[in-house]
Symmetry: D2
Subunit: 80 residues, 4 copies
């Protein structure tokens, strides 16, 4: 009877993000997920990979058991 959701503290892209503008991306994830919005969070390609940058989520949509986030990549991680 409850609604299952998942609290996420970072964006894990798995390489599935779609660029919609210069540094604006859309990513669709399965299930209903709770992400912080308008707060800088880490972006990674996989859970275990290094950080690939910092993003700020601008929009979150829940529908049909999927979560769609639109995020701005505000900085890229550049390893030396």
């Amino acid at each position: 009877m409850g609604m299952p959701l998942e609290l996420n503290t970072m964006i894990v892209t798995k390489g599935r993000e779609k660029r919609v503008e210069e540094n604006l991306f859309v990513l669709i994830k399965e299930g209903y997920r709770l992400y912080p919005i308008e707060i800088p969070i880490e972006v990674r390609k996989t859970i275990d990979s290094e950080s690939s940058g910092t993003g700020v989520i601008k929009k979150v949509e829940w529908e049909n058991s999927t979560t769609t986030i639109t995020y701005q990549l505000i900085s890229l991680y550049s390893p030396n």
Copy 2:
């Protein structure tokens, strides 16, 4: 640094809902609000009014400090 949100357990319309289809409505609320999706919840006109029916939220969107919900009215309360 945290993200303020509000947990809501019912839909309070304040008469601001817009009908988009026969029993499908869109309602815009201030701030980021957490609503259960795909679960029957009570619909009221104001917090203190009688229940006006039961709705099921089909879509939740967070953007620009507002929450937009799309809900289906599945039953109307009919007082005797």
Copy 3:
């Protein structure tokens, strides 16, 4: 990597509540569950049963993959 949780909008006791004071009860549920606190919500014995009353959660604890709620039963449903 995310944290699974379940949004609950009512208290479903399954008869497992323990009375700690006159109208104060403790109930342990599996998993991490998000309940509204300090807000009147419905109390039911099972998901499909009639409402058995209204409760107000006074305390929520998450630990070891369980959620413990302490709630006050503020009214009992009395069918005619």
Copy 4:
């Protein structure tokens, strides 16, 4: 009618943590806050300070408009 809560993605101690065991700390925060539990998150002294380490929250309690977290400090940040 909703329940205000704050989604937190890191632990900001403001130096108010109390050590209860070797690397186990208790921290009391105002209001009801949603923290990821059993997931490594950043620990900082202030929002704007450098990371002081990584912690894992083991227990979250909500009561009387406060949130009490118990966390294990699993690694300390050591700047060169």
